[in-house]
């Protein structure tokens, strides 16, 4: 799918794409975290009809539904090929002691042998994060390791 990115100075970014069904859709990602979905009814980006406006936490939920599990799913495909290896997601919850600390501070790999291979943060994915990567509440860590290792990471992060 081709996605056109248009910069909206002071507002955010606009993504435009055409679905397989032929609908031309615009998604305005505001800096405040709000997401507007709009449809160009005539197929011409001259005027749009605003369809849905998502508040930041709603957009995050939608992104989580669309995003994190999919990344984990892809790793799940990979882990099927190696016996004993599995993938999981661990959320840094609000008020977690690691909110504001770095990945290295958790000592997750040292203690459990499981690796954090990605951090999903809103719309961004930090692939292969370094120990210096800061953690924030709301981050979803994608973890690969043994079953026990992943549970260990969950315990450490209090999830």
């Amino acid at each position: 799918m081709d996605v056109t990115e248009v910069l909206l100075p002071g507002v955010g970014l606009r993504y435009e794409f055409t679905t397989a069904a032929g609908q031309r859709v615009a998604m305005v990602a505001r800096r405040s975290g709000e997401i507007d979905l709009a449809l160009y009814e005539s197929g011409d980006p001259d005027e749009c009809r605003e369809l849905i406006s998502l508040a930041p936490h709603e957009a995050e939920t939608v992104a989580e539904i669309l995003g994190a599990p999919r990344i984990a799913e892809r790793f799940a495909d990979l882990t099927k090929e190696v016996p004993g290896l599995s993938a999981g997601q661990v959320l840094i919850s609000e008020g977690s002691e690691y909110d504001g600390k770095t990945l290295g501070d958790t000592r997750a790999r040292t203690l459990t042998g499981a690796s954090v291979v990605a951090i999903v943060r809103g719309e961004d994915v930090v692939a292969s994060p370094s120990p210096a990567e800061p953690l924030r509440a709301g981050d979803v860590l994608v973890v690969i390791g043994t079953h026990d290792g992943i549970h260990g990471v969950e315990r450490i992060l209090g999830a």
Binding site: P45, D46, R49
Partner: protein
């Protein structure tokens, strides 16, 4: 009975006397009434789908005209709050932009920006000259008519669901270019208005453009490092550091006659990345409160009797610069390939003038007594006229209920 005895004992006679007669008490009461009134006006503005600025100005005019207000203690606080309002407005303006957005606006819309400047600043300058404002006064009036209100326009685009429209990047780019141009314009005006000569003004500009260039370069190359200098995990700490830094720089700028507004703007530009995003969110509510008080103080400082003499000039200026703005805005939209309706939407959206016209009038208020009343009347007209006309542009979309 026991409860009332206990409470009178707790409050004590001294405290009651202080509360009834103290200056701070009446200041608080007045300030509370003013803020509450502004809050209600804000609701009213929302109902009428109008920006708050014109109503806050009217509130200030009304308060200024009422005989009991000018000697009252809250007036002093409002004066200080107004200065903070200007500083916060400019700080958050600087925080709005990233180097990427600025360079994108430059690449695509530099001609639109130049046309915008020529078409809208010229009428202000000429009319100012004809009114006998002299060079500096005319230069100030040129700025007043040139710059659209980013706040009103961005809100309008969002309210009318136009963010995804084809012409919108053009509108926003024009706003960015106008706002960045303020970094050159404001120091010149500030130095000249405070009686400085051209060499000094040019020095001010060189300094400001130098700082802007360094800030933009920093934000493009080393953004995260500058941000680290003020970065902090807790909101409270970040807010205090950013505010402190801004007020210091604003004070220094004021000290060298370059206007506090310019200093605050530069701090905003220099902060980027994650910290800028957080600072923007943290400062927004503060800015809204103090900016509202700034608009009130503009109204307070204008005598109602000063308005009728400048009204014809304000009307003429409003009509002329509404037309030139529609034209220059349409020109910018054409660059994005928008058709007639899109061009009209872009042009009319940009008609609204607001906060920065008033900031400019405030900086140059000492140059000519008629400037502030004229700018106030002018902004009152266009802050209302702009959003109203922009809604009137016909749409091709069927109403939702009909589909």
């Amino acid at each position: 009975m026991t409860a009332s005895t206990a409470s009178s004992g707790f409050w004590g006679p001294d405290l009651l006397v202080t509360a009834a007669g103290g200056d701070s008490a009446s200041a608080l009461l007045e300030l509370g009434a003013v803020l509450l009134g502004l809050g209600l006006l804000g609701v009213l503005a929302g109902r009428l789908s109008l920006p708050g600025i014109p109503l806050y100005l009217l509130a200030g005019l009304g308060l200024g005209a009422s005989p009991w207000f000018d000697t009252d203690p809250a007036a002093g606080f409002i004066e200080v709050a107004a200065v903070l309002g200007v500083v916060l407005l400019l700080l958050s303006l600087g925080l709005e932009f990233t180097a990427a957005e600025f360079s994108s606006a430059m690449r695509r819309h530099l001609p639109s920006g130049v046309i915008d400047l020529l078409a809208n600043a010229t009428p202000g300058f000429v009319i100012g000259w004809l009114l006998g404002f002299g060079f500096v006064g005319s230069l100030a009036l040129a700025g007043v008519t040139w710059i659209s209100s980013s706040g009103i326009v961005a809100q309008l685009l969002s309210d009318l669901g136009r963010l995804a429209n084809r012409e919108t990047p053009a509108v926003l780019s024009v706003l960015v270019l106008e706002d960045i141009a303020m970094a050159i314009y404001l120091p010149v005006l500030a130095v000249l208005a405070s009686g400085g000569q051209w060499p000094r003004a040019l020095l001010g500009v060189a300094l400001a453009t130098g700082v802007v260039a360094v800030a933009l370069w920093l934000s493009a190359r080393q953004g995260e490092r500058v941000a680290l200098a003020v970065s902090s995990q807790r909101d409270e700490h970040l807010l205090l550091r950013v505010l402190g830094l801004t007020l210091l720089v604003a004070g220094l700028a004021e000290f060298v006659d370059a206007s506090a507004a310019v200093g605050a703007f530069l701090v905003g530009l220099a902060l980027v990345g994650q910290e800028a995003r957080r600072a923007r969110e943290l400062i927004a509510p503060l800015r809204d409160v103090f900016a509202a008080l700034f608009f009130v103080s503009i109204g307070l400082n204008v005598d109602l009797s000063d308005l009728p003499p400048v009204l014809p000039a304000a009307l003429l200026l409003a009509v002329v610069t509404a037309v030139t703005k529609v034209w220059s805005g349409a020109n910018a939209a054409a660059r994005e390939g928008a058709a007639t309706r899109g061009r009209l939407r872009a042009g009319t959206a940009l008609v609204a003038r607001g906060e920065f016209s008033l900031v400019i009038a405030g900086i140059a208020a000492g140059v000519n007594d008629e400037l502030a009343p004229l700018a106030t009347a002018y902004v009152l007209i266009l802050a209302i006229l702009g959003p109203v006309t922009s809604r009137l542009v016909p749409t091709r979309l069927r109403p939702v209920t009909a589909s």
